[in-house]
């Protein structure tokens, strides 16, 4: 997922800004009430301007000009590198100045539970009709009450079909055959580092059960010995060079490897996997909510959804956009053929709440073992 790209020194900058944010938080703002504001469908958008925070390169570069052309509203784009970074900004207590934020589903859920998300006014987003039906039934936010999905996908195994037999199980990575030892990678970020073992053991990807997680930990400690690296940014390059033959991967990112070597293929293991969704959320603190809704509506235009699929190579929940994709593209990148219903078989990641601490501690124990 784009969400996790490791962008340069940003973590450092983010940590520094956290400190400042924390200082400001002490001067704290108060939570608004939960009642939806009355939005005016006839508001003059040319008098409104919004700030949108997204991952870098996650929408067309000229989006601001096009959006202004289409609606009259002006917008400014700011970037965040990770969900955690934008969450820190949004939950710091004061007005972040951001109107629309792109976050993954479980974080949209957290924002809604904290009363920081503005309920979506469906009347202002007629393009919601473009969404595939399953995309309106996502467990972290059924009926798109607080968030609108933008891209989605699943996690599986990206492999070199010319060097290994097609993997079928997460155990192909966790307990690789002798000739593949030292040639497999897993993801470095908490939820996806846990996922293969959780699924191989038949647990939920959202489990917070301590006994289950102890078993997951044991399996992952054992798996570390046969691992090349924990890597969620450059695994496809290792596949291209042949240094790795099998990697845990997001479907969209596996496509980046396939683009350079057609022998690189993607498979979802038989034990199942997750469903991740990157969504758009309107913030309660937004002062131009009509324009914020207009922006979401604009991004749901089929050609904008198709831009994401063609340029980021992710599936998009925008059915109208998927239908527009050229057949060659889907042929070249088989993960783009996965249907919405098939994606829904994956388990949605939900917010872990207090258990996030346990996950992080276990990851430290595993990676330092």
């Amino acid at each position: 997922m784009k969400a996790l790209a490791f962008h340069g020194r940003r973590p450092l900058v983010a940590a520094a800004s956290l400190v400042l944010a924390a200082a400001l938080a002490a001067c704290g703002g108060s939570d608004g009430d939960d009642a939806a504001a009355d939005l005016d469908p006839d508001a003059d958008l040319s008098k409104q301007s919004i700030v949108v925070s997204n991952w870098a390169d996650y929408m067309p570069e000229d989006i601001a000009e096009k959006f202004k052309e289409a609606t009259g509203a002006s917008m400014e784009v700011t970037n965040h590198a990770t969900n955690e970074e934008i969450m820190a900004k949004l939950t710091a207590g004061s007005d972040s100045g951001i109107d629309v934020a792109f976050v993954s589903g479980q974080f949209a859920q957290a924002l809604a539970e904290q009363g920081l998300a503005e309920p979506i006014d469906a009347d202002l987003i007629p393009n919601l009709k473009n969404l595939a039906e399953p995309a309106t039934q996502l467990s972290y936010d059924e009926g798109n009450k607080n968030s609108v999905p933008y891209t989605w996908g699943t996690t599986g195994i990206c492999y070199r079909s010319d060097l290994v037999d097609a993997p079928t199980s997460w155990n192909d990575i966790l307990e690789p055959a002798d000739e593949n030892k030292g040639k497999v990678t897993m993801m470095a970020t908490d939820r996806w580092l846990m996922l293969p073992a959780q699924k191989a053991l038949g647990f939920s990807a959202n489990t917070t059960d301590e006994d289950e997680m102890a078993q997951v930990k044991d399996k992952l400690v054992a798996a570390k010995k046969t691992l090349l690296a924990y890597d969620d940014t450059t695994f496809y390059e290792r596949l291209i060079s042949g240094e790795a033959v099998m990697t845990e991967a997001w479907d969209g990112w596996c496509n980046y490897g396939t683009a350079e070597n057609k022998d690189i293929k993607f498979v979802v293991p038989e034990e199942g996997s997750d469903l991740w969704v990157d969504t758009m959320v309107v913030l309660k603190t937004s002062k131009n909510k009509e324009a914020a809704h207009a922006f979401i509506n604009y991004l749901l235009e089929p050609e904008n959804g198709a831009w994401a699929a063609e340029n980021i190579l992710y599936n998009v929940p925008n059915q109208a956009a998927m239908d527009m994709l050229p057949a060659e593209l889907k042929e070249q990148y088989p993960p783009l053929q996965v249907t919405a219903d098939e994606l829904l078989e994956g388990e949605s990641l939900t917010d872990l709440g207090e258990a996030a601490t346990m996950y992080t501690q276990l990851v430290t124990e595993i990676t330092s073992s």
């Binding site: 983010a14 956290l18 990770t82 908490d190 060079s241 996950y359 990851v363």
Partner: protein, 299 residues
């Protein structure tokens, strides 16, 4: 401080007082800067250590000691010890490489000396990430080192260089070597050449001259260089991630993860505090040793 405050009953008292006042006034901008931009933020962060994690990344202001007991559980203790070992090894290696380099630069004629110093510093101007990624290109199984060794028939199969503890240490040494060389150079170049001449004239061997004069008198530089390399090595989290393949965890990684992944600022602050205490002890030792070296004189 006391004689600054007590007034003197002489005729010059008034002018002395005003110059004292001036001196105090001159301190205000500096002290204000340090207070506003260093002391206050650090104290703010450190005040978190007594509070609890908010569910969504904030801080719940309820007093607790839990963070401290967690910081010293075996998991985090092991990470701290491991970090000290890795940073220590990097420091030692940087000293072994840096000392001869600094010595050689100090012995160069003036013009070349400046060029050499610039060459030492230039890599430092290059983006840290780019330099770290370069090591991936060098060390990977398909990388420059393995390919060359294979070509010359030294090895048949690639040897695992990347994603090892050694790779992390090499990366740290490379990243911080200039911080070792510069203070070493500063202290070696200040040595009075006549001391060495005198020792040689008195019949000391080259090794004895080095041991009793050069090395001994440059020790303050050695200590400074070691601290300069050790401190950032201990806190680094990018090199263990990129060159260690995420398989080696240092304190810096854990602190970063608390802030950016677990959304547990109080615990992150606690680990940072532990780190600060460790480093403060080191600085204390360093300053004591330095003082003894400079007042004790050569024995």
């Amino acid at each position: 401080m006391t004689d600054l405050i007590s007034s003197t009953p002489t005729g010059r008292g008034a002018t002395e007082r005003s110059s004292r006042r001036e001196r105090v006034a001159l301190l205000v901008p500096g002290l204000g800067y340090v207070t506003a931009f260093m002391a206050v933020p650090v104290l703010l962060v450190l005040s978190y250590v007594f509070f609890q994690r908010g569910r969504f990344g904030g801080v719940v202001y309820e007093f607790t000691w839990d963070n401290f007991s967690r910081a010293f559980t075996p998991t985090y203790r092991a990470v701290l010890v491991d970090s000290l070992v890795i940073a220590g090894a990097a420091t030692l290696l940087a000293l072994l490489i840096g000392y001869p380099v600094a010595y050689a630069i100090a012995m160069l004629p003036d013009r070349l000396r400046n060029i050499a110093l610039v060459l030492v510093v230039i890599p430092f101007w290059t983006n840290f990430l780019v330099r770290t990624y370069a090591w991936i290109v060098l060390l990977s199984n398909e990388g420059v080192v393995n390919r060359s060794l294979e070509r010359f028939g030294v090895i048949e199969d690639p040897i695992t260089l990347l994603y090892t503890r050694g790779a992390v240490i090499v990366g740290l040494v490379y990243a911080y070597l200039p911080l070792m060389i510069l203070p070493l150079y500063a202290s070696i170049s200040r040595l009075d050449p006549e001391l060495r001449e005198a020792a040689t004239n008195l019949g000391a061997s080259r090794f004895t001259v080095f041991r009793t004069i050069t090395w001994k008198l440059s020790l303050p530089g050695v200590l400074t260089g070691c601290i300069f390399v050790f401190v950032p090595s201990l806190g680094n989290f990018i090199i263990p991630e990129l060159l260690g393949g995420g398989k080696f965890v240092m304190v810096g990684n854990v602190v970063r993860d608390q802030f950016l992944k677990a959304r547990d600022w109080p615990f992150g602050a606690t680990l940072a505090l532990v780190l600060i205490v460790v480093l403060a002890v080191l600085f204390f030792v360093q300053s004591r040793v330095s003082r003894r070296l400079s007042t004790g004189g050569p024995s």
